[in-house]
Symmetry: C2
Amino acid sequence: MTKSGGRDGTERLVVIGGDAAGMSAASQARRLRKPGELEIVAFERGHFTSYSACGIPYWVGGEVSGPDELIARTPEEHRERGIDLRLRTEVTGIDVAGQRVRARAVDTGAESWTPYDRLVIATGARPVRPDLPGVDAPGVHGVQTLDDGQALLDTLARTDGRRAVVVGAGYIGVEMAEALIHRGYEVTVVNRGSEPMATLDPDMGRLVRRAMEGLGITMVSDAEVTELPTGDDGRVRAVRTKDAEYPADLVILGIGVRPETSLARSAGLPVGAHGGLLTDLAMRVRGHRNIWAGGDCVEVLNLVSGQEQYVPLGTHANKHGQVIGTNAGGGYATFPGVVGTAVSKVCDLEIARTGLREKDADRVGLRYEAVTIESTSRAGYYPGASPMTVKMLAERGTGRLLGVQIVGREGAGKRVDIAAVALTARLTVEQMTALDLGYAPPFSPVWDPVLVAARKATAKVRQGQPG
Amino acid sequence: MTKSGGRDGTERLVVIGGDAAGMSAASQARRLRKPGELEIVAFERGHFTSYSACGIPYWVGGEVSGPDELIARTPEEHRERGIDLRLRTEVTGIDVAGQRVRARAVDTGAESWTPYDRLVIATGARPVRPDLPGVDAPGVHGVQTLDDGQALLDTLARTDGRRAVVVGAGYIGVEMAEALIHRGYEVTVVNRGSEPMATLDPDMGRLVRRAMEGLGITMVSDAEVTELPTGDDGRVRAVRTKDAEYPADLVILGIGVRPETSLARSAGLPVGAHGGLLTDLAMRVRGHRNIWAGGDCVEVLNLVSGQEQYVPLGTHANKHGQVIGTNAGGGYATFPGVVGTAVSKVCDLEIARTGLREKDADRVGLRYEAVTIESTSRAGYYPGASPMTVKMLAERGTGRLLGVQIVGREGAGKRVDIAAVALTARLTVEQMTALDLGYAPPFSPVWDPVLVAARKATAKVRQGQPG
């Protein structure tokens, strides 16, 4: 029973979006179903497929030599595997009742309808472009796509600017600030919040701010940008806030992204409070048996808060694609949700978080105890041992782990994985004190910093208990 | 109701053994009970307390400057905290019925009885000294205690030997081989097994052997030592096996340790199949309400195999001490068991394991699927990405994770913690494929190597299933 009109009763899978989620889904479906069984058509409006947007700051910073290195799989490789990939082709409409999509060739403007039996929506995210005077002026750059990265590098090569202002102090803003310091810029980061990395509690974000200031980055907090004034040549020349103006030869917008769901909304598909598509555990769009969605255009269930959340991360997009491709290929897989893990690096500072921050717990009605400890990455006597701060939240009463934040140097960031697994398994902090973690002097003190935090959290939870 | 005859009804806690488990227990009990409530007496036959035996290879190798750095807490510090610590005093008998111990001053030979209300046995381990001709000759060294380390360093300083033979290729043997290479020795490691690091499956141990050979270490496999021939001066001059003789100016015994339980056995306390004391979850010696035991003299429950195991590791000893001290101090804590995690480092090679090896699973009747994958520590395009091999065992049918082994470079070792927590939580490899692990290019490929292994293991488990 095919509606796609495929030859010989072959069904057709249509994928909208040629990046991580979409092409992982296409590839996995292809692994399970031969071209004679399932035709796979993928539409991508840009020039590239399957690239690592997370790598763009390192490309700009010079640690990665070129955009090719960021491409996991080229269009040719996808085509060789039997995926009918149509680049520079934008899907402009989804006809859910008619099971077809309308696509437009970007270069010619020609439009046509393509029927589908199964549909994957992987339209990704679009960067937040604040509605500010000057936001479209030359010299103002986003850093979401490879094209963005190339445009920024072109600007860097062409101009002899000395002063850069980064708007936003999330992980992209922080990474870009470092990349520009490496390129010899004077860098100012203008941040709406009180501390950078709002994915951390402010007491932990403060450690990041100090490290950035130590690099020579000027950090401006609690600042709302009102305008990006331009010069006589039309180029951006400053970033203006309510209180001050910061001269800029270059402005980077690191304000984050929103789910790109205009197409899906127009088709009447369900979106959540954060603007992302809502799916079930098999990554099917809710209420639709033959439409899947994944990657930066969907909301995901946070297993700790019990609520949907928007977490645009390549690692989730790849997992979604794998699950979608398995299901669309006739197999069975689920994506149970996330616990909110993220790591990033600023110079030699490693920053990690998982689970809930204090304000997340407050918002969903969870009462908690919070503790913070200082420890080291290795046995204190072993060369290279470096300080590490671990903050841990545990539910009041039950002692269930709610979240962990870590700021330190080498060896700090990936320790968050211990907490990520513990959150998934709903361990209590007291159960965590007995975890059999790897110990040897080059790897850890005899009590791993995560265990030290768990011990302190356990004591605090027990203190609050009657008897 | 005190039997110790303490002043004013004060109870007395006696601790036998002044290293990690014993002194952690004493310190924790002291935190919970003031000197007026609980008298704490600790006997230690050596000169030192609370030191890191795991650090000795680094001291010999020169990465750590002196023994003081390996001492976590000095005798004076313990005494200041109100612990009556008696160094150079060996306990020679336990009278369980009479609730007292007999102690002998090592220097004077004077003996006396000390009554107790609560007793902690933390007698540690003794190195395996094979019953071989020449084993006690000058030039043959163990590396279990600070005294051993000092004796070895004295030998290294005094003699101008060039050839060292290490007997045994467990983690101590491997670490010592590297330390001696750093000191300019020609090093031969004579190993009874087919590959070094018998804590790994041989296919993973092979990777370690190749790395050691790459350092210039000569690896002799499947070799049984029969004699340590001595020269005219009485010093060791070679290591002889059934098939060959290896000239040696210095011999290191890295054959491992056994639980030191002769005292406990004499007192009629229960020991298990591996020679260690048997305890309950509160670390009480089975059948005894007021005697606890922990550290290198006890067996621990392996939560994966369901059987007792002997795992002499400082990290367990510290946890035992913490649990014992809490209980002996009137609180409540348990030690649920281990999953068998261990990490070590040879030059820049990181070696880790947790859970069961193939032969462990075979022995306890678990059927399994095993997979091995190659991946990298960071995104492939990010500088410093290095190869990593991950082997994973999953139970046939259920897919429950049974074990993980990792051999790689920087960033490989502590990834085993992910598996250690997953084993504790009894996750399946399919559940692991959805783990929300930290991802950013400097930390991991978009699929963490542990996830890649979990995916492959999931596929293999599913393959074996009907339907």
